[in-house]
């Protein structure tokens, strides 16, 4: 007879294709009995090389590519990028354009949070919730389709403003749909506060203490459920958020249940924000003309995506193509906290704990790990080498920035 302590930890690979995961990523879980002793995540299956591809495209082309970083928070990425470009170019967009960006951004948050609620329901075996929320989500998808012309990847942003205006009739449609959604969300809040099975399944699962959340730099609803009131919309207002009235929802329960409550609360705030935008939206044009070439300079832009703070860095070199684009998506900031949440927890909690940060690996896969398989073991490549390789690669393709860069260094 073996004692359970005689055994070594069992290692279980999960992914890249696994029923519990919706995206290709892989986890290596060490188990002792039912409990997780260690976990590590391997990303990169979704890495497409968007940052480098942006350097080959003009700002406008890059904008549509950036939008396709993620199909759930596409507006977040495109707004974040376009804000950085506008800052470098010194373009001040019109107030109406700012309000329209806010409107689409909040509608996107509504669709993303409803989507999350369904996925969370699915992960805990509550498929009815998935079917309910996804049915309701179609209401907001219809709105986005009428306002922008596409259900996902709206393509409404452009350098200098937005591409589509909102009509009086559309405003009424938005208000009508928001009323329906608000009523449904109230039902979900009742459900989350009253349904014992749901509460029992989520309470005390995936605990991330306030200190750990601070230390691991959690962002978005993950941080706000651990009592950190961090929201870019409030801390560093962009678009029209400075003129709108809303609360930052945060709770102190530090678990998956708290994250559910935060997202439900944010849905209610989003409804109020959409109503305010419709009421306050000023008249005027939606687009200011901008030059194709952007002067040399650099900018960092922040945006509160549904999953947390999204950060884009853009460096311009005076041509019509960016010199460097860097994206730090919210999931990359949150993924560190997952191993903390999984520590000493049951394997059965893993799907919901991972789902609770609302991970988006297509956002996150911005990194490349170069591994030398012949020599066994990993090989670290310094940043400078990659940069020089990149320059060489472009030179071979006939794109040369050397003379331009020399001019720039002389100027500065």
């Amino acid at each position: 007879m073996h004692d359970v302590h005689d055994f070594e930890d069992v290692k279980i690979p999960i992914g890249p294709q696994h029923p519990a995961l919706k995206e290709p990523e892989s986890f290596l879980i060490s188990l002792r009995g039912e409990k997780i002793t260690a976990s590590s995540v391997r990303l990169g299956y979704n890495h497409r090389g968007i940052e480098k591809a942006c350097e080959e495209r003009t700002y406008t082309q890059g904008l549509y590519l950036i939008e396709r970083i993620c199909g759930i928070c596409s507006h977040s990425h495109s707004t974040c990028f376009v804000q950085a470009v506008e800052e470098i170019a010194g373009i001040e967009i019109t107030a109406r354009a700012k309000y329209l960006r806010t409107l689409i951004g909040e509608l996107e948050r509504i669709h993303s949070h409803l989507l999350w609620l369904g996925v969370a329901g699915h992960e805990i075996g509550f498929d009815t919730l998935l079917m309910y929320t996804w049915r309701d989500r179609e209401v907001v998808m219809d709105l986005l389709a009428t306002l922008t012309g596409n259900r996902v990847n709206y393509g409404i942003n452009t350098v200098g403003g937005v591409r589509r205006d909102i009509s009086h009739k559309q405003k009424e449609e938005v208000l009508k749909a928001i009323d329906i959604l608000e009523e449904r969300t109230k039902y979900y809040i009742d459900l989350a506060k009253g349904e014992t099975t749901l509460i029992k399944r989520l309470q005390g699962v995936g605990v991330l203490s306030h200190e750990d959340a601070e230390k691991l730099d959690a962002v978005g609803p993950t941080a706000r459920a651990s009592g950190i009131e961090r929201d870019v919309r409030k801390d560093d207002p962009y678009a029209a958020y400075g003129e709108l009235d809303f609360k930052v929802i945060s709770v102190n329960s530090c678990d998956v249940y708290g994250r559910t409550l935060v997202r439900l609360g944010e849905l209610m705030e989003s409804f109020s924000l959409v109503r305010q935008v419709i009421r306050k939206i000023p008249d005027g044009s939606i687009l200011v003309k901008s030059a194709r070439k952007v002067p040399a300079g650099e900018a960092v832009s922040r945006y509160e995506a549904p999953r947390g703070e999204d950060l884009h860095y853009v460096r311009a070199n005076g041509t019509e193509k960016p010199d460097r684009v860097k994206v730090r998506a919210p999931t990359l900031a949150n993924i560190q906290s997952v191993s903390k949440m999984l520590e000493d927890r049951y394997l059965a909690d893993m799907p919901i704990v991972i789902a609770a940060i609302d991970p988006c690996f297509s956002c996150t896969d911005r990194l490349v790990a170069v591994r030398d398989t012949k020599n066994k073991g990993s090989n670290t490549v310094v940043w400078e080498t990659i940069r020089l390789q990149g320059i060489e690669w472009y030179k071979n393709k006939g794109i040369d920035f050397t003379s331009l860069n020399e001019k720039l260094t002389k100027l500065s």
Binding site: Q17, G44, I50, G71, S74, E138, S362
Partner: protein, 154 residues
């Protein structure tokens, strides 16, 4: 065609089991695939059931351009499926590589790795288009039941 294979073919057409695999997509097509399975569009009324493992699936729904990391995994999943198997490329990226064509880590569309039976374009392919594509695939199987992989390499 024997009576047994007739019955098998009939049941296959009435209830194709699908496996969804994200080969490096931006999530948009994946979300639309799930949306097609939920109440508004309800792909399940055609007997389509989402399965979790390639060994149970008849149809592989692929979304996204094939990244170099996922290439070997996609091939492995395809090989794990039992014959006859069909691949549906959902979205422009899956059809041809789309906007990601030429990126250093992208191998191209799904058909650069495995044979594809049906292509559903769109960025993202809307749930309506996905339903249309799946129904068309089923109709094509009904018309020529002997062909194992329409559009596949012979």
């Amino acid at each position: 065609m024997g009576i047994i294979s007739k019955i098998i073919n009939w049941s296959r057409l009435k209830s194709p089991w699908v496996l969804h695999f994200n080969t490096g997509a931006c999530n948009a097509c994946d979300i639309e695939i799930i949306a097609a399975l939920t109440p508004r569009y309800d792909l399940e009324r055609f007997g389509v059931v989402l399965k979790a493992t390639p060994r149970h699936a008849d149809v592989l729904l692929c979304s996204g351009p094939v990244t170099k990391q996922i290439e070997s995994r996609l091939l492995r999943i395809y090989e794990q499926m039992s014959e006859p198997k069909f691949v549906v490329a959902v979205g422009t990226c899956a059809c041809s590589g789309g906007v990601f064509n030429g990126c250093y880590n992208v191998a191209g569309g799904i058909n650069s790795v495995i044979p594809v039976s049906a292509y559903i374009p769109g960025c993202p392919a809307s749930p309506k288009a996905i339903i249309d594509g799946v129904v068309k695939l089923l109709q094509s199987l009904e018309a020529k039941p002997k062909s194992k992989r329409p559009g596949g390499k012979k």
